[in-house]
């Protein structure tokens, strides 16, 4: 077999190619964040953050959208966390591998693959129409809760699983029941891992548009109760950008979103590293 190029040289070329693929991916990320922050940061002032929008968002600030985002995401987390953590505890502490656990895991995996627009359709017909919640923080929050449930479930399960068996044995040997062991020993030890899942869930909620726009609505008023409609920042940004209402305000909103997502990701990573260091 004739080789027109030395294998060692070929190896070097391939390695260089792999480095450049990683560099290209990072460059795209840097480009996206760079453009948004470069154009958006100058917009971010206290009045932008704390004032109501004027003229449909062409002027003024984004305060109602910030309140809407916090309300919808918070509700989603409050609903999804106990369900997700409870599921994880059941799967790891109360049962062994069986047909049932496989069904539950498959269900969660499928749920995490459902596109957000389907959640939007479902939330609209189920929460908004069927349960008569209307376009509201409630409908949006519950829809988001279903959406982030698999994330919280999976991370909580990993966290609970990584608690050493000796912790449980020690607890049982003191005469503690299973539930006492779970609440007093296992969950505290798994807490950072569980919180990581919650933080990731918050990240998904904050950035979500398609599932929220048809359930929480796009009202520009500050929601006064869980049953009033709300507009999240992602929805606000989408409307500004798509309808070309105001580029500077779109950039400003995007910058707030991106900074939030950055902070959420850094927090999640920090938690995860701390958790790994502690358990290994």
């Amino acid at each position: 077999m004739t080789r027109w190029i030395n294998v060692e040289v070929r190896h070097r070329i391939i390695v260089a190619g792999l480095w450049s693929a990683a560099a290209a991916t990072l460059a795209v990320l840097a480009l996206i964040i760079g453009i948004v922050l470069w154009n958006g940061l100058p917009m971010i002032t206290w009045s932008f953050l704390l004032e109501a929008p004027k003229e449909m968002g062409r002027a003024g600030g984004i305060f109602p959208a910030i309140v809407g985002t916090v309300a919808v995401t918070l509700l989603a987390i409050i609903v999804a966390t106990p369900i997700g953590v409870g599921s994880a505890v059941y799967l790891t502490e109360y049962t062994s591998e069986s047909f049932l656990t496989r069904v539950i895991r498959f269900g969660a995996e499928c749920l995490s693959g459902i596109p957000s627009i389907i959640f939007g359709l479902f939330g609209f017909i189920f929460f908004v129409i069927q349960l008569r919640m209307g376009w509201s923080v409630m409908s949006g929050g519950l829809t988001l809760a279903v959406m982030i449930l698999p994330t919280i479930m999976r991370t909580a399960e990993e966290a609970v699983k990584s608690v050493p068996e000796s912790y449980r044995e020690a607890s049982f040997s003191t005469g503690a029941t299973r539930w006492q062991t779970v609440t007093q020993v296992v969950l505290p030890a798994a807490l950072p891992g569980i919180v990581t899942g919650i933080v990731l869930g918050i990240g998904r909620g904050v950035g979500e548009t398609a599932a929220v726009i048809f359930t929480a609505g796009s009202s520009l008023h500050i929601p006064t109760s869980v049953f009033s409609p709300a507009r999240t920042m992602a929805v606000h940004f989408y409307i500004l950008a798509r309808e070309g209402l105001s580029m500077p305000h779109a950039y400003g909103t995007a910058a707030v979103l991106v900074i939030l997502i950055l902070a959420i990701n850094v927090t999640a990573n920090w938690l995860m590293l701390r958790f790994r260091a502690k358990t290994s």
């Binding site: 990072l26 453009i35 539950i104 693959g113 389907i118 990573n269």
Partner: protein, 285 residues
Amino acid sequence: MRARRGEALIERVLLFLALSAVAMLGLIAVFIFLQGLPIMLEHGPGSFLLGMRWAPTKGGFGLLPMILSSVIVTLGAMVIAVPLGLACAIFLSEIAPRRVANLVRPAIQLLAGIPSVVFGFIGILIVVPLIRNYLGGPGLSVLAATIILGIMVLPTLISIAEDAIEAVPKPYKEGAMALGCTHSQAIFGVMLPAARGGILAAIILAMGRAVGETMAVIMVIGNAAIIPQSPLDPARTLTSNIALEMGYAAGEHQKALFATGVVLFVFIMILNSVATLRVVRGDRR
């Protein structure tokens, strides 16, 4: 005695919670199908799946342009994402020094966290004008959506493919290198073939993400409900069809959008099930 009864009750409650994910999946399926299926059956599934004309207020429910556009855009995105994503996965698991990998990995996670509306916005700002100025056409096009989707699915593809490569037993690589292979020959000749099940699953799940992506696609694809004749033509995907018209649709029109949801749901469930099949993943546990 009372403690034991308490424990049994707790176990029931936890089982109930654990079943909620499956229950929600079922509920979603039931409600989407209940809304979308009757109108499909009434007008004949053929008129939906094979019909060319989308005019839902005038009895035109043809979804074929949207189905084809979704397929084209998804496959196009894979042309970009598979080589780039696999290269990144190989880089992370085999080439990168630990320090570099520990920086690159969270960065790629961050890419997954960027909201899809922001991707769409960047598409409008950069990709669309580039296409319009250098390749022609309106810029809002299949190609623009393909490029944006190709980037958006990278994190999914990279993380699952990386896991698959990491899971290849160490002796495979050591054996290959002991026989005199270079590192890259060991990667491409031995490790990738051994990890092909997981890599395939990664690609299929990435396809699921691409098919389901909505907001970014709406912003860059132009949304014309026609079968695109070239990559520079505008088109409309299943997801954008729903999101565009959901805001004002009523009656049969709204039901037709749920029917679009039914088609999308079936697509996604097929992709997800294939990806979790043991045969595909090649689990040897």
